[in-house]
């Protein structure tokens, strides 16, 4: 308990200090230094033991304090340092504070409370804000990549501010959401993409990009049921707690200016055939199809052809799309506080260009965090953030009129412009340059995440807190397609969307904390929350514009509109208690009851209990006597959490919907079947863990093994279509996730050494399996994914190509059912998109003012469906699509050994078409990778030097991101998820913007 209240101590102490001067007998002075680098430590709290007299050290580390008669013991404490007790009997006191060893003695933010990591029984990963700063990414979730064991984070694409795939210990659900709950300073925030403009099935925005990463103090990831059950129905997918920076009592106001500039490029480019090669392939295809050799498509113009192969030009479109993109970030903040009031204010501007034209993202953000002690008993405060984002979005991925698509797919021998200078377009594709020049899609987001609280302390042990929050998320989109691009045909089209997602949250907690004597401590709380979410969207469309310059729908000849609204409520009561004996044995118990409006009255309430036990073996004499472990703790927990996210607000009801209009008369049509029994999806999870520290805290180990079983899945169960529906939402099916997580931290050199070097490595394995399913369910484009009992989610359902017949050049496929012919029954699951192992390595070295660091992250064993190859290695079946160079490896004559079958459009061969529809696993690839995520070198200029410039601190750094990626994957980037907007799909690669390689310079100035 003592260290968990560390943060609160300075406030109380400093507040009372002035009142106590009357009893002064003498004055003690002194200074406090950092034990490692011997620099003065400002902001250290010094308290006379047994009294309420205290002070804070100044910028020079000095302090002066009235010492009452008979008191000589001073207690020094500061966040991040071990407390020290010193006898101040004679003369000035010089104290050196040792940095607190991370991981094992820090305070961890848990659900509705804080806990000392020593007594923690849950699996919680903490990431310090310092570890996140400087990474040139728009949103904080992306920064977690490789940093927390068991947390799989991958960007869906390289589009700035775009969607992120994040899973904490795997996917539990099929149709319900698998995203974790994000809580920012106590506010449950919306994480639903609000951009309505269709962008090739990609989730077009990441609502977390509304949060400025620079404002973040720390991120805690709650993983096991004991940690998340207090969040009940919101907790099944894990909880990410984001704590933003706050001012500290007694701090001189610190002003920090932070900026960086970065340059990014695509690390790799698609490898297309040249014009002459394309013509050769086409001629060969023509002959293979039995064409007359005198009528080759690429014969001389004089003979009526399109010119001989060697006469073909090659046009490079991709270079027009990809650019060196710039990123800028500016951020100014001030933090400080008196005994009564503490504050943090920050403002930031961030702008990032996509490496694929013409997309941009920028963000203005403001934050005010205030805390005020109204009286000794009453505190009030707020955490408020305002953000405005602007995205100039453009389509890629699964959209023939996407920018990359229109550059990648058209045949390379076809000119970009018509002879008259107009944009040339081929097949289903637009002209890439027309898109770059004319796309006009703006999405402006406005976001307020705000919380006010009042907290009243009754006596010493009891605290009542009431908090009121709003997450107001607004997205205003205006798209105009002029007549120069396909989407604007024939006379200009425009759409406008105003979407609003509002969560109101009210929460009360009553917290009881007490220590009974030396050995017993108890922390208990009860609380309730009331949450209401409303979503609304108004959309407008206009067709036929008088001119390309009149872009507002007001100018359109035809204007149509629609609006939609929906709402849901959640009412919850919860409680938890932690009892600890000598900080050696700890027991946690928690329960939450949730009622959701999405379920019928009889099934509305869900109850989510959890228990956790911790035993710090290291405190037992028999372990202490070994003199090996500085910490050794066993943890175990068991609990249940629920899920109701991701289903529609009225999923349990049988409904008929309007809008089924005909002849401009209103019509209604059946929408969904009723399921009055619909109720919570629940996840049972147990977790066992071990924490250890050896070699004088130089080697730290954290192990977790978990087993999750989600049952009563909220599943769109397929029903016979003859009844007029395709599926009904039922609690049916089960998914399990089992896995382990290991994290090792090594401090290679002693604390006192001049060089500090530490490395943290983590690795995790998660095995996902569908335990029960009513019937297989297909999903994704061309039904490439299939959910099947016994297999993991995100399994690819394809024909397995066994080879190419060296005699005739035709592809051979596995005849799964052995009936001698190819049919759907021969499609099977050929792999899945889950990595077998994933993790990361973070390394940091510092010497005097120099710091050097890198982070690696890796995934091993995930498969990727490379749709670019699917389309660009087509054997001639796609008459408007060019070829990747890989097509040149096709079978040509008997005896050729290759994976790429003979060119032909003949469906009977099934090489590229026919029954197989090119759904061959030859396009499914190993997506394992090891990536150097960041590499940075910084220099903090010595304080004496910067002091001359009247600065507090100055750090300069250079950094490279994604400097290299080691992967067998043939596409641009193995970190790809092109169809993120399509449920139950993962790892499609489809004309997607890759993660850029970035060079960055930055500067942090303390004023």
């Amino acid at each position: 308990m003592k260290s968990s209240t560390l943060l609160a101590v300075p406030v109380v102490v400093a507040g009372l200090a002035q009142a106590s001067f009357a009893q002064t007998a003498s004055t003690v002075t002194g200074s406090v230094l950092d034990a490692t680098d011997r620099t003065p430590l400002p902001g250290v709290t010094v308290v006379v033991k047994g009294t309420t007299i205290g002070a804070s050290t100044g910028p020079d580390g000095g302090f002066s304090l009235p010492l009452p008669a008979g008191s000589t013991t001073l207690v020094f404490s500061a966040v991040g340092y071990e407390s020290q007790t010193v006898n101040a009997s004679g003369g000035p006191v010089r104290v050196t504070l040792k940095a607190d060893v991370k991981q094992l003695s820090e305070v961890v933010v848990t659900g509705y409370s804080e806990q000392n990591r020593k007594t923690l029984t849950s699996a919680i990963s903490s990431v310090n804000g310092d570890a996140l700063k400087d990474i040139p990414a728009a949103s904080p979730d992306q920064l977690l990549q490789g940093k927390a064991p068991g947390v799989q984070v991958s960007a869906n694409s390289g589009v700035p501010g775009g969607g992120i795939f994040i899973r904490i210990r795997g996917s539990n659900s099929v149709n319900a959401s698998n995203d974790p709950l994000y809580v920012v300073d106590g506010v449950f925030i919306n994480n639903t993409n609000l951009i309505a403009t269709g962008l090739g099935n990609q989730v077009s925005s990441n609502p977390l990009a509304d949060i400025n990463p620079q404002d973040i103090e720390s991120i805690e990831i709650l993983k096991d049921a004991n940690a998340t059950a207090i969040y009940g129905s919101r907790g099944a997918n894990g909880v990410v707690l984001i704590t933003t920076k706050r001012g500290k009592a007694g701090d001189k106001t610190r002003i920090t200016f932070n900026t960086y500039h970065a340059w990014s490029k695509a690390p790799k480019q698609y490898d297309l055939v040249s014009g002459p090669e394309l013509a050769q392939l086409e001629n060969e295809r023509f002959l293979n199809d039995g064409g007359n050799p005198a009528l080759l498509p690429y014969r001389s113009v004089a003979a009526g052809g399109r010119g001989l192969p060697e006469e073909q030009q090659t046009y490079d479109r991709l270079s027009d799309v990809f650019r060196t993109a710039q990123t800028q970030s500016y951020e100014l903040s001030a933090a400080g506080g008196s005994a009564k009031t503490q504050f943090y204010v920050g403002g930031g501007y961030f702008r990032q260009e996509s490496i694929a034209r013409p997309t941009n993202f920028d963000r203005f953000s403001l934050r005010v965090n205030l805390d005020n002690a109204v009286t000794d008993h009453l505190r009030i405060g707020t955490s408020t953030a305002l953000t405005r984002t602007h995205r100039n979005v453009s389509s890629n991925d699964n959209n023939p009129v996407g920018v990359i698509n229109s550059a990648l797919f058209p045949r390379t021998n076809l000119p970009v412009y018509n002879p008259d200078g107009s944009y040339a377009k081929y097949g289903s594709f637009d002209n890439h340059q027309a898109l770059i020049d004319n796309l006009n899609n703006d999405a402006v987001g406005s976001r307020v995440i705000s919380n006010v609280y009042g907290q009243y302390q009754f006596g010493k042990h009891l605290t009542l807190r009431s908090s009121w929050s709003i997450d107001f998320n607004d997205m205003y989109e205006n798209n105009f397609n002029n007549t120069l691009i396909l989407a604007g045909q024939p006379r200009g089209t425009a759409t406008s969307f105003l979407s609003r997602d509002i969560t109101l949250l009210n929460e009360q907690t009553l917290n009881y904390t007490v220590d009974f004597g030396e050995n017993h401590s108890l922390q208990a709380l009860v609380g309730n929350t009331i949450q209401k979410n409303t979503f609304q969207r108004t959309s407008l469309a206009g067709q036929q514009f008088p001119s390309n310059d009149l872009t507002s729908i007001a100018s359109a000849a035809t204007q149509t509109g629609s609006s939609a609204r929906s709402q849901a409520g959640l009412l919850s009561f919860f409680g938890k208690a932690t009892y600890s004996f000598k900080q050696r044995y700890t027991a946690d118990v928690s329960v939450r009851a949730d009622a959701s409006s999405r379920f019928g009255a009889d099934n509305r309430w869900g109850y989510f209990p959890a228990v956790g036990l911790g035993w710090r073996l290291g405190e037992e004499e028999f372990i202490k006597n070994l003199n090996v472990f500085q910490e050794l703790k066993l943890r175990g927990s068991l609990g249940k959490t629920g899920n109701q996210a991701g289903i529609s607000d009225f999923a349990a009801r049988g409904l008929v919907q309007g809008g089924a209009n005909y002849l401009d008369l209103p019509g209604t049509a059946p929408l969904q079947l009723a399921n009055p029994n619909l109720s919570w999806e629940s996840t049972r999870q147990w977790n066992v863990g071990l924490d250890a520290a050896v070699l004088q805290n130089r080697l730290l180990l954290e192990l977790n093994y978990y087993d999750k079983y989600t049952s009563g899945l909220l599943l769109n169960v397929p029903v016979p279509r003859k009844i007029g529906f395709a599926s009904v939402v039922e609690n049916y099916g089960a998914v399990s996730n089992k896995g382990f997580e290991v994290q090792v931290t090594a401090n290679w050199l002693p604390r006192a050494a001049a060089v500090q070097w530490s490395t943290t490595a983590n690795v995790a394995r998660n095995v996902n399996r569908i335990g029960k399913l009513a019937a297989p369910i297909t999903s994704g484009s061309r039904d490439i994914f299939r959910l099947q009992e016994g297999a993991p989610l995100y399994s690819f359902w394809l024909y397995h190509q066994t080879g190419v017949n060296p005699e005739n050049g035709d592809a051979q496929y596995e005849d799964v059912n052995g009936d001698g012919q190819l049919s759907v029954a021969d499609r099977r699951l050929v792999g899945n998109a889950w990595p077998d192992y994933f993790g990361g390595v973070t390394n940091s070295v510092s010497y005097k003012g120099l710091d050097f660091g890198f982070t690696l992250n890796f995934e091993q064993g995930a498969k990727i469906m490379n749709m670019n190859r699917f389309f660009l290695v087509h054997g001639g079946t796609q008459s408007n699509i060019g070829y990747l160079r890989e097509q040149l490896d096709r079978w040509q004559q008997p005896g050729d050994q290759t994976d790429i079958p003979r060119l032909t459009t003949n469906p009977a061969s099934n090489n590229y078409g026919g029954v197989v529809q090119n759904l061959s696993d030859r396009y499914l690839e190993d997506g394992s990778f090891l990536r150097l995520r960041t590499l940075s070198l910084g220099y903090t200029i010595p304080k004496e030097v910067v002091a001359k410039a009247r600065l507090n601190s100055l750090r300069l750094y250079v950094q490279a991101a994604n400097l290299f990626t080691i992967t067998p994957y043939s596409g641009l980037d193995p970190e790809v998820n092109s169809q993120s907007g399509v449920s139950n799909t993962k790892n499609f690669d489809w004309a997607t913007v890759p993660q850029p390689r970035t060079f960055q310079v930055g500067l942090t100035v303390g004023l």
Partner: protein
């Protein structure tokens, strides 16, 4: 003073706490503003009208793209020029049970059936003074007609299908309903058409069902069942009603504002209920995706003054990168997006009757019917003199007359000529496969042989 302020603040926290706990009832029972409970959907005149309109909307859904595609693309007039393999399979007559277009059509069609079943079940018991019996009969008749149309299409596409005739409330409804035979399916179509004909009003509405609409579909049904006399009789009723006529030029059928005198039944679209079919036909230079491209042989036929005549209006040409490109122009309203889906036309009634008469040996009358269609197109009269020659001439006439409509494939399957003409010699492939996903979900279903 000050301490009372704090007490006030504290009271406010406590007050807020209690307030928030009591204000929960509303929270947990929100009312949907966009949907109705399914058991309250058809209760009075207004909701009955809306529900019937909703069935049209569902029929419109599968006729907008999927059904025409399944009719013309397996035939030889049009090739697929886009990137989506499900279309390519159809073009290459290599359908597989996981074809997503087929699955979508199948799903949409049964949605329409369920919509009609809802109307047929709820409407008879509605007593609303605003719903006169004439209108009630009309709505019922429309529901019967639309259900007949869907089951007819299901039958000619897949063979005998499960016949679900009552509205669905739970997923157990329809359990045990296995596939019927094709004869049973067509019998159900006949029963529904008989009801529809009795209940529907006379009239000439062309985008909602009237008596003549039911008769025209019935003529086609009898043709498919080779009931020549009935086919002739019902086609004669439609042709002789005086409400319909072959319009000239041919292009007038597909010229705004549509609903020409020739149209017996077409599904109307509008800008707010848009038909984007044009986008599949127009080359990208004109803003389309050029997914469906008329093949050279079809272009030659349509442009032949002795074969296509004025039906050459089905084609358009434009210049792309210096060379001339011909495209299908039946669906051409790119700005207004109000191209209709053509379901029943008088020209077809003539050709139905011509065939029915030829089969009955009434060669002269058959030839006259055929030549009525030819003369409207401005091509010379046919001189076919034997029954076989006449039947072949009718078949070829249909190829150009309905070149881009939902006809060619079904016509050749019906006459058993899909093997000879299209080279699809495996007769098992003359029926579409039952969608694989539905086979998995429905234990009562059986796949067609050969898939």
């Amino acid at each position: 003073m000050k301490s009372s302020l704090y007490q006030l603040l504290f009271a406010a926290i406590l007050g807020a706490t209690t307030l928030s706990i009591t204000a929960c009832h509303d929270l947990l029972d929100p009312t949907p503003v966009q949907q109705l409970p399914d058991d309250q959907a058809i209760t009075d005149a207004g909701s009955a009208r809306s529900a019937t309109i909703g069935v049209y909307d569902r029929v419109q859904a599968y006729y907008q793209l999927n059904w025409p595609v399944l009719g013309f693309l397996p035939g030889e007039n049009v090739r697929f020029n886009g990137t989506l393999n499900q279309f390519l399979q159809i073009d290459q007559n290599q359908l597989s049970a996981d074809n997503v277009l087929l699955t979508e059509a199948w799903t949409q069609m049964y949605q329409a059936v369920n919509g009609a079943n809802n109307v047929l079940a709820a409407l008879p018991s509605i007593n609303d003074p605003l719903l006169a019996s004439a209108e009630k009969n009309q709505l019922l008749g429309e529901a019967y007609f639309l259900r007949a149309l869907v089951y007819f299409d299901l039958g000619r596409g897949w063979g005998g299908v499960p016949l679900v005739l009552s509205p669905t409330r739970t997923k157990e409804n329809g359990q045990g309903t296995r596939r019927s035979t094709i004869a049973q399916t067509y019998d159900q179509v006949l029963a529904d058409l008989t009801q529809a004909e009795a209940l529907l009003p006379d009239g000439t509405t062309r985008n909602r069902a009237v008596k003549a609409t039911a008769r025209a579909l019935r003529a086609r049904l009898h043709l498919y069942r080779q009931q020549w006399a009935d086919a002739e009789a019902y086609a004669t009723q439609v042709i002789g009603s005086g409400n319909y006529g072959l319009v000239t030029p041919y292009r007038a059928i597909s010229t705004a504002p549509f609903l020409s005198r020739e149209s017996v039944f077409e599904l109307t679209f509008s800008n707010s209920d848009a038909n984007t079919m044009w986008n599949n036909w127009f080359p990208s230079a004109l803003g389309g995706q050029f997914n469906f491209q008329p093949v050279p042989a079809a272009i030659a036929l349509l442009n032949d003054p002795a074969v296509g005549g004025s039906r050459s209006a089905l084609l358009g040409t434009t210049t792309i990168a210096g060379s001339s490109v011909t495209y299908g122009n039946l669906y051409s309203r790119s700005a207004q997006r109000d191209d209709p889906s053509y379901v029943l036309r008088l020209a077809e009634q003539y050709l139905i009757r011509a065939e029915a008469r030829a089969k009955q040996g009434k060669l002269t009358e058959a030839l006259a019917d055929l030549n009525a269609v030819r003369s409207r197109a401005g091509v010379p009269a046919s001189t076919a003199s034997s029954a076989d020659a006449l039947l072949l001439a009718i078949e070829n006439e249909r190829r150009v007359e309905f070149a881009f409509e939902a006809d060619r494939w079904f016509d050749l399957v019906r006459t058993g000529r899909a093997g000879a003409v299209l080279g699809v010699t495996d007769q098992r492939r003359w029926l579409f496969p039952i969608p694989f996903n539905d086979l998995v979900a429905d234990p009562d279903l059986e796949q067609n042989p050969g898939y």
